[in-house]
Symmetry: C2
Subunit: 339 residues, 2 copies
DNA sequence: ATGAAAGCGCTAACAA
DNA sequence: TTGTTAGCGCTTTCAT
């Protein structure tokens, strides 16, 4: 049989409560007995039973990590998520928390999974790894007053939610400015699906930068349907951009690919700056000049924030903004200033 | 307060044991009372408490998923892992199991995490998502007689472990044969770190194919240190291979990149066939001809196997081999047969 | 077919 | 400073 607190108590010749207190290093217990008890624990190889603790405590030291469903920007394809999970793992290991995972093929499945985890008291709180507009999962969390932190920008309830994010608007602005500083003046923007808030904000940042520089702002371009491609083509021939801000590294790879097919060289003919600094950035030349958003830091902060919040729920709803930086590589050409 | 089994019992006017039995749809309870009890549950919005069930049952319906540590072929970079996790999630949702994650920056940290999960009875069993030679984690699992299934080939205890794998040797052979069938006769092999068993097996498959065809077998090449590059260079100039079997898609991308730098065109001058059919295969042209190993299937089978095993531990230690197939794309050139 | 009651392993209020 | 004991919510044996 497994060794329980009773066995330890008997072995040490004390009461179970003494053992329990020793476990949490309570100041009520004298050092001498603590030592005695610890010896007994070591001798018997005792480890507290989680379920029993949870039951008595009404707290599981585990946090639920919610992955996006496969349909929205398939996470299986996006290395950022695993990186975040790993980082959350590191923080959790440190703080002796456990990670439970919520995934699903559909939003309903995901919601069921989240609901189950919560109702059955499997987790104390959640980390929502993505941010979408009108997300039913977030709605559920919010309405159930379930503790969670959001990685990304909240579309609603902004003042009532804990979140971690970059300053995405600034991120978009800085990327654009990078192009500006390199002498580009005709700059386009290629985005992802518009339901992602990030995208919207980055575009706004792009606009801010160009407006400030008194340059022409172009509408957001897409790169999915064949209509998009035609639109892109037209944009290129009509406006002859020398620089493109692209919402994501992977997308930038596609864009680079497409341009090369059209015999437009990157960066000689068109420069590219993208976001995330993911694996994709350094896969093949020209390596991508990209904005590093420090995903690991994002994840780490998220984990620390939720754990902190669970321990002291009275804390004010704080948000933390993680800085970003441009990583210069090979897709931005320095234009001849006096050309 | 949360609604417990007692509340339901009171509401339905029965004993708690009756409610408990209704929960598991026990044949001991009459349909009529079941209906009554279910109505009460629905009315109160009852959900059983996991911790309490675990405590009474000595079983958590959760399985631990073990990710490799960051040092070995950094998983954060490898999209396969997330894909597997997602797939495991699907199976778990279906079977009402939960997923707990074990990660770590170092092997020690990872082992601690695994040990904790097990000792504190947080999980019933594990899925080990990777297979390395002399893996201390696996040793721990094996020696502790902890239920687990391995994704990949076991280096030891082969007959005493549940595992899911491809026939990796065949995989290597088929890849090589693909090149052979396309008229290639000078074929090299580029591998990953040799501690990975997969790699070793694929190389053996490569050798098998060439031996059978009576062609020259070259030693396994690496692609990491600068010495490796020199070795590769020498290999190219001395042997003038027309085809290369590359252990992984991502690696193939690097190889393709390198070759292009050397003004060797893929596939016109050198053909490439790799493994995994991951995101990397279709990122940029020429798209990779690659062996699809059906990771999702691997993960799915792993989840089903461990769950099955947990429910019926008497089952014989089975292994399941998932089939593979070559996905033809753009990196293998059909050689002129009558050249 | 149903109920009463004794655990499962741990915590914490209360007593000493 | 330490012990006694009543839960935490559920399962299951043993009665009935």
């Amino acid at each position: 049989m497994t060794v329980t607190i009773k066995d330890v108590a008997k072995e040490a010749g004390v009461a179970t409560s003494t053992v329990s207190r020793t476990l949490k290093d309570s100041p009520l217990i004298s050092e001498t007995t603590k030592i005695k008890v610890r010896a007994a624990m070591a001798k018997l190889g005792y480890t507290p039973n989680f379920a029993a603790q949870n039951l008595a405590n009404k707290s599981t030291r585990t946090i639920g990590v919610i992955l996006p469903v496969a349909t929205m920007g398939n996470p299986a394809q996006n290395p950022l998520f695993l990186e975040m999970i790993q980082e959350i793992g590191v923080v959790c290991n440190e703080k002796k928390y456990m990670i439970s995972l919520a995934t699903g093929k559909t939003l309903d499945e995901l919601k069921d999974s989240v609901r189950l985890m919560h109702q059955r008291k499997l987790v104390d709180g959640f980390i929502l790894l993505y941010s979408e507009a009108n997300d039913p999962i977030r709605k559920f969390l919010h309405e159930g007053k379930i503790p969670y932190v959001l990685v990304g920008k909240p579309d609603i309830y902004e003042n009532e939610t804990l979140y971690i994010d970059n300053d995405n608007r600034l991120t978009g602005k800085n990327a654009t400015e990078w192009l500006l500083q390199n002498g580009h003046t005709q700059i386009g923007y290629i985005g992802l699906t518009p339901s992602q808030l990030v995208d919207k904000l980055r575009y706004e940042g792009y606009r801010d930068a160009l407006l400030e520089a008194d340059l022409e702002v172009f509408p957001e371009l897409s790169f999915e349907t064949s209509a998009d491609f035609e639109g892109f083509q037209t944009f290129i021939t009509e406006n002859k951009p020398t620089g493109l801000v692209v919402a994501d590294d992977r997308l930038a790879l596609q864009v680079r690919e497409y341009l090369q097919q059209q015999h437009l060289r990157v960066p000689e003919d068109i420069s590219l700056i993208s976001f995330n600094n993911s694996v994709f950035a350094t896969l093949s030349h020209p390596f991508l000049t990209t904005v590093d958003i420090h995903v690991k830091e994002l994840a780490k902060q998220a984990a620390m924030l939720i754990i902190h919040y669970l321990q002291e729920p009275e804390t004010l709803m704080s948000k933390v903004i993680v800085p970003h930086e441009v990583v210069e590589r090979e897709t931005v050409k320095k234009m001849n200033q006096n050309a």
